[in-house]
Assembly symmetry: D2
Homo-oligomer: 292 residues x 4
């Protein structure tokens, strides 16, 4: 199958490779001419035969929105656009509307796979009309991991459902990472367990906490057993925040995911204004010493 | 190798089977005569050749302590006792002392495997002297999952380290379960994702949240897609509490594991006294309606 | 001073009384004709001399927005509208714009006081232009508690700052209420403290936790020592959610306020889908019994 | 009334002053001879007429235990010891036993008042036998704030109940402080509220969040509006940890108090091992940059 792929960065570039390995014809476009097959977005569109499929893999937000808007002007009735980036699901509804005025279909697809996707395949969560999703199935089958389709792909619902599922997936990821991280810190603090990396590694098989994340933590601890090369600083990339905001909008208690998000916020603070206020209160009431 | 096994319940019974399949000679004792090979603890000890190995697999707390105390009187110098139950690590130090006065060695061993261990093998975390641990290695190798030894077994440190590692393992498990659970509730609450079980199943391969727990949740959702047969009621079995208490003792922030623990507490309350107080305050200040 | 007051419910009605006691001339309008002085919004505007002041005290959201929009058409250059309701600060910017096209000024004012405000006075947080705020000062002085002005009133910043401060104030309130509530539940659960209401009452003077909320809890416990007449069910009215959302937008960790919000969400659930998932996982892995 | 007072530090010294102002005869002893009235503990006991009252006001833990043990040998039947320090309630049971073998009574008394107690009075929570508590009432009346007795004093239950109530009181204090602190940080982070100290001050009267802690925060912000002189570093003194541990032992969810405790733990870390683990996981999976 032939498709256009806009955005050839860390994710998009690897996806192009995986699609080509599966025998698909991919015309890629990136603002970096070295990575690009096409010279421009219009050129990319020109090089595809109708009805076209264009997969967008650029940063969520303005970049995705402007790419979709530009594609709306370039594409024709019967074409389909897929947004495979980390867009917020609310953007999908807007994107689908922009395209539908031109008769262009829209599918949103959450993609999980990180730097491993090229070899392992990408977990895919799609949202959109059944016909559009069906048409893209050869692409999805090439990108997803080997094995039964439903273990690496879901058509989760209408437009936005793919990114919604991906958002929740990432929210869960925040909680999982933090659970391992708290366990790591406690083992690290204890005097009793003298082989902390070994303890994590021993959970790789048979235990209820075995997981890919565990394997990744074992790898990291094998490289650097005390994680001494790292700073305890963690960015967040949007989905965690959105998950908590959705939880609030739906009155769903989400203490674990939220705690994980807040731990990332705190990790980036040089000093905590809140804890200055606590220090001030302890000093005002109890005369407790403060640090200046 | 020959060993005694005290406690032939859900876990102990399966472990006996797995050990026998591996060619070991297991003399089992349980207060249930139907399950027992030996008629009593003294009988079990008599039926083993010195130097003996006795693996204790009875409920943590008083049952384990009294079994160890009784074994201290029955065993001889050079024998070794293993506590494979879910004991708190502080019990191990006491148990080791009771036995050491008789020259009997002690190894604590955290065991993870649940109802799956018989087939899959058990993740093992051992604490104790190197010589005692080494002597037990054929037993550990039979119980642990196939594959490299260090992916299913660790000698984590001195006496208590095995149960300490297991305690933290279970604390992590609380956090992991709750992270998936919060994601489940949010997907369940959303209108957009119409195939919630399918979304979970699609994470089985390739995604960063793939894990054994995810597979188990997928199984549960395949059996009962809305979990409508279940009550949202979850017990806790000690290790979660101990993990948080250890975290507090070591001044380690553990918000995720603690939130998971508190969610279980709350799940068992018919009504919340705290929320009665909040309702009372809202009524007193703002005249907000209360439910009676 | 003369002013119009739109919305004569629990809050608005009491404010009219307090303003009149202070000697101000208040023309009130409410959709309930029994409470109203004016027959309609246009009638209210007609009955005021220019330059007019109209204080809006209707439910946040659509009701406030439509009232402001209607006032924009009825008022003239030099008039001022105050929104004293619990609007989200983002609404203020829109409201101010609608009015500014007609030369009408806009002040947002967070009001705290509950059912006590009529007698005790209302804590006021205003946002807007200095000149508009200054013009309203006689109204603010009548509404706020006796004592120094800056202990019951602040001009917190430009348009929106008043409601922003009120939002954070309410977020703090969530945390404070929950802190007392958790302490209540723990004392209630302990066997040792036999006079729980007495313990709370003894904190009324001299202790670091003395506060108005404490006094209100003491009142509630005097009425009903075990809070047995109440259900542990607590609504939330928007500001708590907004506070957490703002915290997320600003990457500010807010675990206490968020925990208080989530506790309210949970208090309203008949059963917890998340805890069903936890129960399912415990059953799948460990064979633990579930409740159906 | 005559009493001995052991420990004349920040709290004990002020309490001696307040008791003397009320007309009581206080014989003080401290290891600092400058502060002491008596030359030794035996000397203090000698200088009191039987039946004696000795109030112990030394650091919780070993110092209190050894003082009580020494007093047990010096005192006689009919004497009473009060522990007014911040002891854990579990110590009270042991202390009472040590003394009861000599016929000496024991009362535990939680004391809240900080540096303000000398002038404002101390909030008091007592545990012990009714007769012992009754006998001490003149002392309690002198120490507690003016006003009705039950607004500054409670006989909360048997031995240990006073310190239990004080422990919960302090746990609540953790939550309250953190709630204000989070609100402060959010206002500080917002661009909209330009007068943050003014906003807090405006809550002093009429609002639902008014409290002593609020007044103390207002004082701190008047001294240093951005708290720029302070480091966000907060110690914890035991009661917060004990409160959470009690909550866990009673299966009481206490997310707010726990979050406040964990925030203090985190405030004292130079770097977070947990967040190193999160950074490592993000790097391993997604290739996200880490800080070294």
């Amino acid at each position: 199958m032939e498709l256009g792929l806009v955005g050839l960065g860390k994710m998009g570039g690897s996806m192009r490779d995986r699609l080509r390995r599966a025998g698909h014809t991919v015309v890629g476009y990136d603002h970096d001419p070295e990575a690009s097959d096409a010279g421009s977005l219009p050129d990319l569109v020109r090089r595809l035969s109708a009805p076209r499929v264009v997969w967008v893999m650029v940063p969520a937000g303005p970049a995705t929105r402007s790419t979709v808007t530009e594609l709306a002007e370039l594409l024709d009735e019967g074409d389909v656009v897929v947004d495979g980036g980390n867009s917020r699901y609310t953007d999908d509804i807007a994107n689908a509307e922009v395209l539908s005025t031109r008769g262009v279909g829209y599918v949103d697809c959450g993609v999980s796979g990180g730097v491993w996707g090229l070899e392992v395949g990408y977990g895919l969560m799609a949202g959109g009309d059944a016909a559009d999703v069906q048409r893209l199935m050869p692409v999805f089958d090439a990108l997803r991991p080997d094995g039964p389709r439903d273990e690496g792909f879901v058509h989760a619902g209408g437009v936005g459902a793919g990114h919604y599922a991906k958002m929740v997936h990432n929210g869960i990821e925040y909680g999982l990472m933090q659970a391992y991280a708290e366990g790591y810190e406690l083992l690290h603090a204890s005097e009793l367990v003298t082989d902390v990396p070994g303890a994590f590694k021993a959970w790789s098989r048979g235990t209820v906490v075995r997981s890919w994340l565990l394997e990744l933590l074992v790898r990291a601890l094998e490289d650097d057993p005390g994680l001494s090369e790292l700073e305890g600083y963690a960015d967040d990339s949007g989905e965690g925040r959105w998950t908590v905001q959705e939880a609030i909008d739906h009155a769903v208690p989400a203490p674990v995911i939220t705690a994980a998000l807040f731990a990332r916020f705190a990790s980036r603070q040089d000093d905590s204004p809140a804890m200055k206020a606590v220090a001030a209160l302890r000093n005002q009431f109890g005369g407790h010493a403060v640090r200046a």
